[in-house]
Structure formats: C-alpha cells, structure tokens
C-alpha cells in the first residue's frame, strides 16, 4: 500500500515530525511504500540544514535525510510556507535576492500541487501536526 505523509509542525517544538518519522519507518518495514512526505506550515522548518541539536538528542533533519536517501522518499517542502518562514534553496535565494540558503540534503522546495498529487496517487494520507 502507498502512504502519503504530511508533517505540519516544526522539529523539536512539537512531536509531530518524530511521530511521522517513526510511522514512515514502520510503514517501510511492513513492506508499504512511502513515495513522498510533504512538509507544510511550520513543518517546513524540518528542512533546514542549520539546526544544531544538543549532542544527547536526536537529529531530526538528518534522520529524515537518511531515510529518504535509503528508501527513495521525495521530501517536499512547500514553497509558500517556506518563504514565510525563511527556508530557501539556492535557486529561491537567488530569485529573492537573499545572500544565503538553508535547505538540507534530500529536501526539495516545490508547490502545494505536490500535496494534492500525493493525495490522489497514494492509498492513504496521514497528517501529523498540532
């Protein structure tokens, strides 16, 4: 079965991104597919490579980047939500005249259409948020 997953809250602040990660891991272990995870609202903040969590805590961004690489998951950060919150890739930074970007490995910035498409193409849509 194909699961689509939405993460709606930022890392560390809310458990949503942890629960989503644990769900995705378990789904893959059970033989299901997770073609895409869509990061919306404050969830876009999961996709910055600039976080420095305490050494005795988990690294949420790196966990997502790793599982995405291993299992070919498309990690999509919503462009509209990301602009409001200061998450940019190199192209967006250039386009907006910003002197830095902060997107993490394995994440890409794209439109809300990717969320709708995920809802159409997967068998179940799971939302994790506040």
């Amino acid at each position: 079965m194909k699961f689509g997953v939405v993460v709606s809250e930022g890392p560390y602040t809310h458990e949503a991104s942890d629960t989503a990660y644990n769900f995705v891991k378990a789904a893959i272990e059970a033989g299901h597919e997770v073609p895409r995870v869509f990061f919306y609202h404050d969830g876009v903040n999961v996709g910055t490579r600039l976080t420095v969590p305490p050494q005795d805590d988990r690294n949420i961004q790196e966990n997502w980047s790793a599982i995405a690489k291993e299992h070919g998951i498309d990690l999509v950060v919503c462009i509209a939500a990301a602009q409001r919150r200061g998450i940019l890739d190199e192209n967006e930074a250039k386009r907006q005249g910003k002197d830095a970007d902060n997107i993490a490995e394995g994440f890409r910035i794209s439109g809300l259409g990717q969320l709708i498409e995920m809802g159409i193409q997967t068998d179940r849509l799971m939302m994790f948020g506040d």
Partner: protein, 136 residues
C-alpha cells in the same frame, strides 16, 4: 472513486488569525481546485469563526483573508459545510456568516449559496464519505 476522481475534504477546526492554519488551509484549497477532484470544505468547532462577516484586521496589522472565501466559487469550490451545533455553542447563526455564492453551470448559471448548514450527525456522514481528509 470513479474515473480517478477522489473525494477531498478540507476540515477546518481552528479560528482565524490567532494561528495561520486557516489561511494556509485556504491556500491549499485554491491550488487544489486545479486538480479536478471532488472537493468539499468542512467548518466545525472553532473553524466556523473563519466564515464570520465584518472581519477587519487593520488594528492588528495582519492580512485579512476572509474575502478570499467569496472567490471560491470562481474556482468551482462550492460545497462549504458548516456544523450547526458548532455555530450554536458559539452564539452564531447563519446570518453572522459571509454570503458566499457560486454560479451553478448545471442550472443555467443560477446563483446559489455555497454555505450549507448541516447537523453534527450529517457532518459525521460527510467525513465518512471521503477518500482523502486534510485537517487544519
């Protein structure tokens, strides 16, 4: 699901302005309208506050997005279900809500109201009749 058309329900349970969920839900609805799916919006609990008329955000410096609801008809989004019990608990009636209209192409483009007040039991039935539920 017939002909690849899925039933999408956008569930709105939060008040506007205090948090961004209502505004960003509306942004999904507008984009989603391009995908030719069977779209409904549900407003219950504090979500019914999103539709009240007379919102004026000048004093808080935040963007007033309530007029956007009136544009939904142009995007063929015309099923806005509002829960009666949620309105009543909040001291609201249908008259407190914006008038949101659409033109029915199957009825000689007659203007019709997009807002449909339904009971809690009918809201439960509506939720149960969906393929994809997006919660905000």
């Amino acid at each position: 699901m017939e002909d690849g058309i899925k039933k999408f329900l956008y569930v709105n349970r939060k008040a506007p302005y205090g948090t961004i969920y209502a505004l960003e839900a509306l942004e999904v609805v507008l984009i989603g309208a391009a995908f030719d799916q069977d779209v409904s919006l549900a407003f219950l609990d504090d979500g019914v506050f999103q539709l009240t008329k007379g919102q004026n955000t000048d004093g808080i410096g935040v963007k007033n997005f309530s007029p956007t609801f009136r544009a939904l008809g142009d995007y063929d989004v015309n099923k806005l279900y509002v829960e009666r019990e949620s309105l009543e608990e909040r001291g609201l009636t249908e008259d407190d809500l914006q008038e949101i209209m659409y033109e029915d192409e199957d009825d000689d483009w007659a203007e019709k109201p997009s807002i449909r007040i339904i009971s809690r039991a009918e809201m439960a039935d509506l939720m149960h009749d969906q393929d994809v539920i997006l919660s905000f």
